[in-house]
């Protein structure tokens, strides 16, 4: 039996590897795009003019209150009805990036608001402009503050990438299911896929810890 699984694994190695590659691409793209967007969302939530704040607040509350699966399906099926025709991969990454941005936005807002007001005042008092204050005083502190939660979000995005199998993106889960439907070895191959997801997320977590250690302020 064991030999049989390894045999089947060898046969299925190409589609599984491709699936893994697609899963990693989805995760990386949505994390990167979501984080960049999210930083702007967080800035708007913290420093934007009132109307901007309300608008962005509405955006994050709406996105965070919606299941990711619904976002993925909407991105793929609904956007095409209004003339935006995206392939399943693009639509899926868009949905995940949007989801990620609302979470990162909240993280950034929380981190910035947790910095005592005296920091901004001290920066002003030595004559720094707001962009300088953000770049040298608030940003670096917020980054350290938000890092642990950001690592969590990144891991969530890897897990959420499996939802793209629903709209037919050939990522790791869909490829695994295809292999299972041919070999009927559901236990083995699901375990194997689960193991791969674990390895990715464990790697992200270790990386997060490493960065945290590197940027820790002695006290």
């Amino acid at each position: 039996m064991d030999f049989g699984f390894l045999d089947q694994l060898w046969v299925a190695r190409i589609p599984l590897l491709k699936g893994l590659g697609v899963s990693i691409s989805i995760s990386l793209l949505s994390i990167v795009v979501g984080t960049v967007l999210g930083v702007f969302v967080g800035l708007a939530l913290t420093y934007g003019y009132r109307p901007v704040q309300w608008l962005v607040r509405g955006y994050t509350d709406f996105i965070r209150g919606t299941p990711v699966l619904v976002l993925v399906l909407a991105s793929y099926y609904v956007l095409s009805t209004v003339g935006i025709d995206l392939g399943p991969f693009q639509a899926g990454v868009l949905a995940l990036a949007v989801f990620c941005s609302s979470h990162v936005g909240e993280l950034v807002r929380g981190a910035l608001q947790s910095i005592p007001k005296g920091q901004t005042e001290a920066a002003k008092a030595i004559g720094l402009t707001f962009p300088q204050t953000f770049a040298y005083v608030l940003g670096p502190q917020a980054l350290r503050q938000a890092l642990p939660a950001w690592v969590n979000t990144a891991a969530e995005m890897v897990k959420a990438s499996t939802l793209l199998s629903i709209i037919g993106v050939g990522e790791l889960l869909l490829r695994t299911q295809e292999v299972i439907s041919r070999t009927f070895m559901s236990l083995e191959f699901y375990f194997f896929a689960g193991f791969l997801y674990f390895v990715i997320n464990y790697g992200i977590e270790r990386f997060g810890r490493y960065v945290e250690r590197k940027t820790a302020v002695p006290s």
Binding site: P116, G118, Q119, E121, A122, A123, K124, A125, I126, G127, L128, T129, F130, Q132, Y136, V137, P140, Q141, R144, V217, P218, S219
Partner: protein, 255 residues
């Protein structure tokens, strides 16, 4: 000769509450003025208006004849552009009750930030100057320490070095010893005293009456948003002219 600082009819409101009800004050180069008064009398607020940490709704503040924060053109009073306000803030230095050092930077980096980013000084030059001032406040050996590794008194001295290194025309001290343990108060007061002896112009909001008495050339007593009384410290403390000041001094401790 123009005054270093000239405040005219300063009014400040928070919503409907008026906390400064018309303050006038002129200060010459090299003066050391202590501002005393009970909490809520407006002394800290007045200080914070001078570097635009607080907006004010009426009156003018001028440093070296330059109007701070607002300009009036054609009868309309407008806030100056942020860039201009930032530049004006660099004319004053400020030390805070809570020190407000940047916790992610070493003592030296705290002092250097303004020199490099605002004064556009080269890093080497800025480092030399930062070390000179850290030496002056007795903390050169701590230059590579982070604020979290320093005592409150040491943090406050670094904060003073950070402000003074910018070579301000006027130093503002906002209750700089109020958050310190009693045994750490003196080291900070010594630093301020040394600056006074160097001829630095200073406005000091403080609860340390003996210190105010010893260091100031003039004392201002704030009372309910106005200047209640002012004069040289000897006369103020020994022969208060107003009921209010006499009352206040009675409840204050001299130690």
């Amino acid at each position: 000769m123009t005054n270093l600082l000239e405040i005219r009819d300063l009014h400040k409101r928070y919503g409907t509450v008026e906390v400064l009800k018309g303050v006038d004050c002129a200060m010459r180069q090299g003066e050391v003025i202590s501002i005393i008064g009970s909490s809520g009398s407006g002394k800290t607020t007045m200080l914070r208006c001078i570097n635009m940490l607080e907006e004010f709704q009426g009156g003018t503040i001028a440093i070296d004849g330059q109007e701070i924060g607002y300009e009036t053109a054609g009868g309309v009073r407008r806030r100056k552009p942020e860039r201009e306000i930032a530049r004006q803030r660099a004319m004053t230095g400020m030390a805070f009750q809570q020190f407000n050092l940047f916790p992610h930077m070493t003592a030296a980096a705290n002092v250097m930030l303004g020199l490099v980013k605002v004064k556009k000084m080269g890093r080497d030059e800025a480092r030399t100057l930062a070390e000179k001032w850290l030496d002056r406040v007795g903390l050169l050996s701590r230059k590579d320490h982070y604020p979290g590794q320093l005592s409150g008194g040491q943090q406050q001295r670094v904060a003073i070095a950070r402000a003074i290194a910018m070579n301000p025309k006027l130093m503002l001290f906002d209750e700089v010893t109020s958050a310190l343990d009693p045994e750490l108060v003196n080291e900070v007061l010594q630093v301020i005293k040394a600056l006074a002896e160097d001829g630095m112009s200073m406005l000091i909001v403080t609860h340390e009456m003996r210190f105010a008495y010893e260091v100031s050339s003039r004392v201002i007593f704030m009372n309910q948003g106005r200047i209640g009384e002012e004069g040289n410290p000897r006369e103020m403390f020994l022969k208060p002219q107003t009921e209010r000041l006499a009352e206040f001094l009675k409840t204050s401790t001299f130690n």
